[in-house]
């Protein structure tokens, strides 16, 4: 599932000094510095929220209705008609923007990752609303007064501006809904930008695919374990004929009848067919490269002991290594 957003709000909606400049709109630092909150509508009920926060697998402190996570995110849940929305922000400004001692966190990226983790834990898409999901990115702006906002919008030929209250202005631009909002105790407005993203997986053909069996060409146990570890496999266990691990929340069981044959693979608790297939392809690619590396080193080592020499060595564009050996 991809939630990478292509649509940042236009620069002028955030800062009056910015023009409608592509560079400003697409500038990651600009987006990162101004994005202050992500509001996500979910299909989660209270018991789901409690279960998720208890099983996140990262440190999590609960204080004043907010969860403070070990990855630098702060999550607050609010309910509407029984379903919960998540308000995701950074714990503090320093964590968000970084200083000498702390890394910069990209709120959008971490927010995506958090929801991917939720999906994996609950084994379903936690955000779906009739195959579309709606969530909001909230950016801080430099607008102090309502008339400044309205003036700026009119300058950019935006019509149908609806002023709800002193502190809330709604409008539509490029078919997207926006809302300027200001907390009563704050000086500056922030802007909520509606994001609509189509879902592409989790449910495939209307059916949840939970498990599947795959024949592999993996015969080398050590290289297979190395490849799995490189892909972040958890709970890795093995004996002569079997390898068990967890990858991206799914259970992988490799088995074979003798130590020379290729492994058969059974995958259980599949989170998404697409994620699973991509992972299988990555594993196959990485396993091949690891085999290539081992064989290359072995040939180079053994050739020293024979009456042979490498006459030429080339690496082609597709990463094939070509060795020409003079037999002496």
């Amino acid at each position: 599932m991809s939630l990478v957003l292509k649509a940042f709000p236009l620069g002028f909606l955030i800062n009056r000094d910015f023009s409608e400049d592509e560079i400003v709109r697409r500038d990651l630092r600009f987006e990162q510095e101004n994005l202050c909150l992500i509001k996500v509508a979910t299909n989660l009920r209270l018991e789901d929220v409690n279960y998720l926060m208890e099983n996140l697998g990262i440190s999590c402190k609960y204080k004043n209705d907010k969860y403070f996570l070990g990855n630098g995110l702060c999550v607050q849940w609010t309910s509407y008609q029984g379903y919960y929305s998540a308000f995701i922000s950074a714990i503090d400004k320093k964590v968000l923007f970084g200083n000498k001692n702390k890394p910069v966190i990209n709120l959008a990226k971490q927010g995506e990752l958090l929801f991917k983790t939720f999906d994996v834990i609950l084994k379903r898409n936690t955000r779906d609303v009739n195959s579309k999901e709606i969530f909001y990115y909230c950016y801080k702006t430099d607008f102090k007064a309502r008339y400044e906002v309205i003036e700026s919008l009119k300058q950019h030929n935006i019509e149908n501006i609806i002023v709800n209250t002193e502190n809330e202005i709604r409008f539509k631009y490029n078919n997207k809904n926006y809302k300027f909002k200001r907390e009563s105790n704050k000086d500056l407005f922030y802007i909520e930008s509606e994001q609509r993203i189509s879902l592409v997986d989790i449910v495939s053909g209307g059916k949840h695919i939970r498990s599947k069996a795959v024949k592999t060409n993996y015969t080398n146990k050590d290289i297979l374990i190395k490849t799995l570890a490189e892909h972040g496999a958890n709970a890795l266990q093995s004996d002569d004929y079997n390898i068990y691990c967890e990858l991206s929340g799914m259970q992988f069981m490799f088995s074979r009848n003798n130590t020379k044959s290729a492994y058969n693979l059974e995958i259980d608790k599949i989170v998404s067919e697409e994620i699973c297939n991509n992972l299988l392809k990555d594993l196959a690619d990485e396993y091949g490269l690891n085999i290539q590396d081992v064989v290359y080193k072995r040939i180079m080592e053994r050739i020293q002991t024979q009456n042979m020499r490498i006459e030429n060595e080339e690496v082609s564009e597709d990463n094939t290594i070509v060795l020409t050996i003079d037999l002496g």
């Binding site: 091949g288 064989v295 072995r298 060795l323 003079d326």
Partner: protein, 68 residues
């Protein structure tokens, strides 16, 4: 003497070709590859070289003395 051209593919498979080795002798080098890379040969394709006889090139003096 001949040469071996070994291709290590990114998918982990290996291809080998012999160069300048005529006749059935080229098959012996499949074993060389097995020993060098510790692999099992799954497929062998015979090229034109396999069907050619190995011959010795003699210089003029050898040729004359042979003819005695």
């Amino acid at each position: 003497m001949g040469k071996l051209k070994i291709k290590l593919m990114p998918d982990g498979t290996i291809e080998m070709e012999t160069k300048g080795i005529k006749g059935k002798k080229c098959l012996d080098y499949a074993k060389v590859l097995e020993q060098l890379a510790d692999v099992k040969i799954e497929e062998l394709t015979k090229t034109d070289d396999y069907y050619q006889s190995e011959y010795l090139e003699l210089d003029d003096s050898q040729h004359l003395s042979d003819n005695g």
